[in-house]
Symmetry: C2
Subunit: 348 residues, 2 copies
DNA sequence: ATTAGCACTCTAATTCATCGAGTGCTAACA
DNA sequence: TGTTAGCACTCGATGAATTAGAGTGCTAAT
């Protein structure tokens, strides 16, 4: 139960088994390891060690006379080792060609795709979330007799608009006043600070055309608070079909469904075991995942940040025998780049 | 080669074969038909007829001693018959609960999902497309020193906005003038009417702060014309896995990929054989489909309209043995309902 | 402590026989 | 002349039996 129950040789062998299994997806036998490693041990010796490893729960046999495959505990050990090692060279992601002028959602969709293509696993990316800054600017305009357009600009130049339908028009003068009022009272406030109370007070202040003004303010309130729901972009879901252990109809169908619905994927980012390790990278192996349908998968997530607590998540979902090393490198690399791109985009 | 090469009995038998195959997915034999129909014919007689039908190309044998399955020509005959029949009772789609307040894209996504659930096939819905009406209202606002927000409202109250970054600020007075100019010169024009020439003229007219104004106008032009790319919403792609004839790894992977990319799906709506039949419903069987990966599928598309040439497309993609009748009913029903919903939403 | 060697186990692949649904054809029948 | 009964034949699907081979555990020798 303590951290050092594995001596060096067992560690080497375990790693060799896992690495080999990652490549082939087939149970690996003693003979293979005997050749694969530079330990110069015979298959018999390996067999003994493997027997031990099995007893300790790091590997298991699918059936009596097959080779061994890593157990969840084995994978966990492996991943923890990887995490502990000094950072790998972060191989620059090749040709990250995204014109910055495109909208954020395009960028994120692109990122998801790029990552999927690069890793051959399914990917998900969530839009940056959090206190989207403060209100910077508000404007109401008469569009026609029955429609008023409200535009709200938030810090980070995020624009929201909402068309408000009104019974009777508001004349230009009153509109000017309303605009003044809105800007002076709301500018600088963050969204959570603007609650129903604030709106109520506003309504009172502007109380002239009770009904119309009330409608308009409700509209503004809605404009401000809406769209806060989490957008999730996915890509590469067909990659599941590339791995035999996931591609049987039953499993594949469930997985694909989860990705299509997206709803459940939220759990991958809200869950967040408290354990914030140095890199901000989380790995869920098999049953560790908060999503039931992924019990035969591994999930690697990373959080990217835009400062001020505005965060998003990137996730890669693949078979348990995923190439953790490559995946984590990709994520690390992406994390920083995404940071850059979005910060720039934000200013545009 | 003429329309009447099939006598009544052959027609009945062919229909019976197809209908049976739609249900079971298994080749159907003479004995089955003999019982299935009320023709009171022995299996031997049926066999003779089937032999004829095969020779004529309406059905075929997967291998020598199996039953028959419909050929593409057979399916074609069947759906043409269906189309010709007086409209079926359009079974009202149950509980079409969509709050109208939601954004159009939400509605469409919902529609896609609903349809997928109802039919058990994969579905796609495109956003209404076409001359999105004329420009109704334009407004530029100073957000901060280096950012100007341009808001354009189109007929149908479609709002577009774009943040324009400028080197030096424009003072309020000039801004007012610019707004006036923009509104007087562009309001009432439709998007295609606003070309580069128009913008050039505008630039000249407003020529005061050459550079800044130029930047701003470019921004406006971009805001107006952008976002014209076709959005496609899909749902129910996992349904492919329900049909054995489509669910082998190879095919399924291709299909799912096509749906994930969405790009190619555009062909389903641009293609449009000229033949506008009464219902506006198109059926592509097998190779008739403009998309290669769907050569083992059937595709049924319908066009919905919001008047003024604003159109969108709904598509259902499933195995060739899809339940054409049900699918077409669903589409017809949806077509009208979608019409209503969107028209209302448009006014909101 | 390591290893060679051997008996043993279990899966995957292969072969083979069998079954049965379905056909085509012929001859009898109304 | 159209319909049907009957029969021989075809061919995939099913399942049992066999085999091949990878891998193990154990024992005895080094």
């Amino acid at each position: 139960m303590n951290g050092n129950e594995l001596d060096e040789r067992k560690t080497t062998i375990l790693k060799a088994i896992i690495r080999n299994y990652l490549e082939t997806g087939e149970p690996v036998g003693s003979r293979t390891i005997s050749k694969y490693t530079d330990l110069n041990l015979s298959s018999a010796t390996i067999r003994n060690e493997m027997s031990d490893l099995e007893e300790m729960g790091y590997i298991l046999q699918p059936h009596t006379s097959a080779g061994r495959i890593p157990s969840d505990k084995g994978y966990r050990f492996y991943v923890d080792q990887l995490m502990a090692e000094r950072d790998h060279e972060v191989s620059q992601m090749k040709e990250f060609v995204i014109e910055q002028t495109e909208k954020v959602d395009r960028v994120l969709q692109q990122v998801a795709k790029l990552l999927a293509v690069n890793t051959n696993y399914a990917t998900m990316v969530t839009a940056p979330q959090g206190n989207h800054g403060k209100v910077k600017f508000i404007q109401l305009s008469n569009v026609d007799e029955h429609h008023i357009l409200s535009v709200v600009v938030l810090d980070g130049n995020l624009v929201k608009n909402k068309m408000i339908t009104v019974e009777e028009p508001i004349d230009n003068e009153d509109m000017l006043k309303l605009n003044m009022l809105l800007n002076t009272s709301l500018t600088g406030l963050s969204i959570p600070e603007i609650n129903l109370g604030t709106i109520a007070i506003l309504k009172e202040k502007a109380g002239i055309h009770s009904q119309v003004v009330s409608d308009v303010l409700d509209g503004v309130a809605e404009a401000i608070s809406e769209g806060e729901d989490l957008q999730i972009y996915t890509s590469g879901v067909t990659n599941f079909l590339k791995y035999p252990e996931l591609s049987d109809s039953e499993r594949a169908s469930e997985l694909l469904h989860t990705f299509e619905e997206k709803q459940e994927l939220v759990n991958l980012i809200t869950d967040k075991l408290g354990d914030e390790n140095s890199t901000g990278i989380q790995v869920y192996i098999g049953d560790e995942s908060p999503i039931q349908t992924m019990k035969d998968c591994s999930v690697v997530t990373a959080t990217y940040e835009l400062g001020e607590g505005v965060k998003g998540t990137i996730g890669i979902i693949g078979p348990k025998r995923m190439d953790y090393e490559n995946v984590m490198d990709n994520l690390k690399s992406l994390k920083s780049q995404l940071d850059d791109i979005l910060k720039k985009a934000k200013e545009t």
